[in-house]
Subunit: 406 residues, 2 copies
Amino acid sequence: MTTTAFDMSAQLSRRARTMNASAIREILKITQQPDVISFAGGLPAPELFPIEDVRRAADDVLTRYGPAALQYSTTEGHAPLREWIAMRHGIPAANVQIVTGSQQGLDLLGKVLIDEGDTVLVEAPTYLGALQSFQPYLPRYAQIPTDDGGIDVEALERVLHEQQAQGQRVKLLYAIPNFQNPTGRTLSLERRQALVELTARHGLLIIEDDPYGELRFSGEPAPSLYELGLALAGGDPERNHVIYSSSFSKTLVPGLRDAWVQAAGPVIAKLIQAKQGSDLHTPTFNQMIITELLPILPRQIETVKRVYGERGQRMIARISEHFPAGVEFTQPQGGMFLWVTLPQGLDTTALLPRAVERKVAYVPGSPFFALGGGENTMRLSYSSAAPEKIDQGMRALGETLSEALA
Amino acid sequence: MTTTAFDMSAQLSRRARTMNASAIREILKITQQPDVISFAGGLPAPELFPIEDVRRAADDVLTRYGPAALQYSTTEGHAPLREWIAMRHGIPAANVQIVTGSQQGLDLLGKVLIDEGDTVLVEAPTYLGALQSFQPYLPRYAQIPTDDGGIDVEALERVLHEQQAQGQRVKLLYAIPNFQNPTGRTLSLERRQALVELTARHGLLIIEDDPYGELRFSGEPAPSLYELGLALAGGDPERNHVIYSSSFSKTLVPGLRDAWVQAAGPVIAKLIQAKQGSDLHTPTFNQMIITELLPILPRQIETVKRVYGERGQRMIARISEHFPAGVEFTQPQGGMFLWVTLPQGLDTTALLPRAVERKVAYVPGSPFFALGGGENTMRLSYSSAAPEKIDQGMRALGETLSEALA
C-alpha cells in the first residue's frame, strides 16, 4: 500500500495554534553563550540549596514510609504537608490542594475557571508564565496599569466599568502583590484593602500568586490579599473570593516541583477533579521530602533573604553608579527581580545584541505585557548573580545604555 | 461595608461543570474498609519496589549533579533519559517528551489535539483516566467494540464511516493494545497491522497507551502500533501517525511520576509549549533518579512479570474453581487486570455491597465505557494481591456471584 504523508500540523487543536514558544525561552538561548553574564533568567541561587538536608530527608522518608513513598497517592496531596500549610494560614486542610509547581496551580485554575472569551485582568506587566498557563483556555485579557505602589486600583475600576459596558464577562484578576515578577514592585496596604473590597463588590475572583512573599529583605510585610479576603468573608474560607497560590520553589528548591493552592471548597473540588486528569497526583516522594524539610524552612528563608538582599542592594548601587540619567529602575524590598525603564523610544529587544556583545544579558520587558507595550523596559534578576558579576555586568550594561542614549 | 457572599460554583468554567468525581475513586472509598480484600484498585505491588536502589540512586544523583538535581530544568526533560528512551525505540531524542506520569501525557495530548466536538474513538471499555484527561477539551466519543482479540477493526471502519457520514470530525483513536486496562486483553498482530493501515488511510491519529507492554508473562510479544506506524512511514518518525505513551510507573515505581510521549515533531513542539504552561518541567530530581535506575530495569521487569504472572494464573485458577457457570473472564498474558462478564441482566454496581459484605471488592465495569454499557462487567486487579488473599477473595466473590445467579 502507499504510505500516507500526514500533515501533523493540520491535526492540532485551535488552542494549540494560539500557543507560541515562550519569547523568553528563545531569548534565554541567545543569552546562554559562555562568558556572557546573564541577568535574564529567573533562577533561585543554587549555591543556597540545602543539598545535604535533601539527601537526609530522602533517606529518612524511604526509611519511615518504605514503599508508600514510591506508590501512587491521593490527588489532594500528602496529608501532613496540607495540614502544615493550612495551620499556617489558619484554614482547614480541606481548603489546600498540593500541585506540581505553582505553574500547575495556574493551569488547573485556568482549566476550572476560564471559559473562552472570559476577560482575565492582569497587571501591566505581569508574569509571562501565567499567560502561558491561561492561554489554552482562550481568555481575553485586559491590562491594569501599575506604578511603584503596584496595581492602580482606580484604573482597575475604570477598566472594570469599560469591560462591563462592552458586555464582557470579567472572570478574575490575576495579581502578584509581593515583589512582583517582573517588576519587583509590592502592592501597598491601602491598595490591597481597596482591591479586595472592589473585587468582592464586583463578584470578581482574585488569583493571588505569591511565590516570593517570604523573601522580604527590607520594609514592612503587608497582609496577603487572601488574609484580607478571609477577614472580609468573616473568617469563612468558603466565602473568600481570593484564591492563593504559593510554592516551595523559591524558599527550598524548585526541582522537586512542590507548590499549593488555597481556595474555597467548590474551587478545590474542581481542582481535584482537574488534577486527576492532569497528573493524578504530585510525586509522593517529593511531597514527603518537602514535609521532612519544613523544620529547616525558617533557617533557609533567612539565608535566602540575606543573600538576595545583598545582591539586590549591590545591583541597585551599581545601577546608580553606571546607568545614564533618564533611566529609571525599581527598588524591590524582596524577591528576585528589578525592572528598568529606559526613556521612551528606546527598544530593549533591539538593544539586546549590543548588550550581548558587551557580554551582558537581560530580558526585554515587552513579553510581560499581555497586550503589548513596554518596549523600553527590561527585567534584571539578581538572585543567582555573584557580587563581582553584578559589578562587571552593571558596568557593561551601563555602557550599552549610555551608548544607546548618546 | 457589607460582605458579599460569593457563589463560587457560578464562577466555574463550562468544562469544569462537565467534570465529575471519578466514579472509581468513589467506589474505592467504599471498598477501603479494613478487612475487605480489595481487587478494586490498580496499584503495582509495593513489596516489589526497589527501595534500596532508589535510596542509592537519590544519593548518587545529589553527589553527581549537586544543586542541578534540585534546580529548574528544561521542559523537554533530562537529556540522558530522553536519549535512552529514543535509542530503545530507534528514533531521535527530539521525538521524546518526558511527562509527569502518563496521565500528564494524555492531558497534554488532549490539550494540543482535541477541539470541542471532535470525535475521539475509544475502545469499549477503555481506561477511565484517559476519559478524564480528554474530557476538559470537550470531545465527543465514539465507542469501538472489542472482543478477545482487542479492537474489532471491521467495526472500527463501520464507526468511521458512520461518523464521516454524520459530518463529524474524527480526530484520533485512543487505544491500549497490550494487556488493556480494564480488560487485560491484547490486540492481535493481524489487527494491529490492519488498524495502523486503516487509520493512516483515514488521516486519523492513534494515541497508543502502553504502560504494561513490558509486563508480558505469557505468549508472544507483538510489535507496537508505533513500530508499525514507523514502518508504514518508511522509518520516518516525522511521518508516523501513531503517538506512543509509556511510563516507568508499572516497571519501576509510580510515586516518582515519570513517563514519556513519542511523537512527530509538530506534536512534540506543541507538547513542549503546553507543558511549559502546565508544570514547566517534570521534577528534575525524579528524572535523574529514574535515569540512575535504568541499569536495574531489566531485572526489575523480570521480577514484576514473574510475580504478576503467578498472581494472574492463581486468580484464573481460583475463578475457574469458584465462579458459577455462565460467568466469563479474560485470560491476560500480562499486565495487572482481568475482566469478568456476568450473564446479561446482572448489575455489578448493585452487587458490590453484597460482595463487600462477604469482605471482597472489585470495580464495576460500567464507568470504563465512555458512552455507558457493561453493567454486567467488573475489573479485577491481581497485581498487588497476596496468594492467600486471592484464594480467599475469589472464594468469597464466587459465593456472591453464585448467590446472585441462583
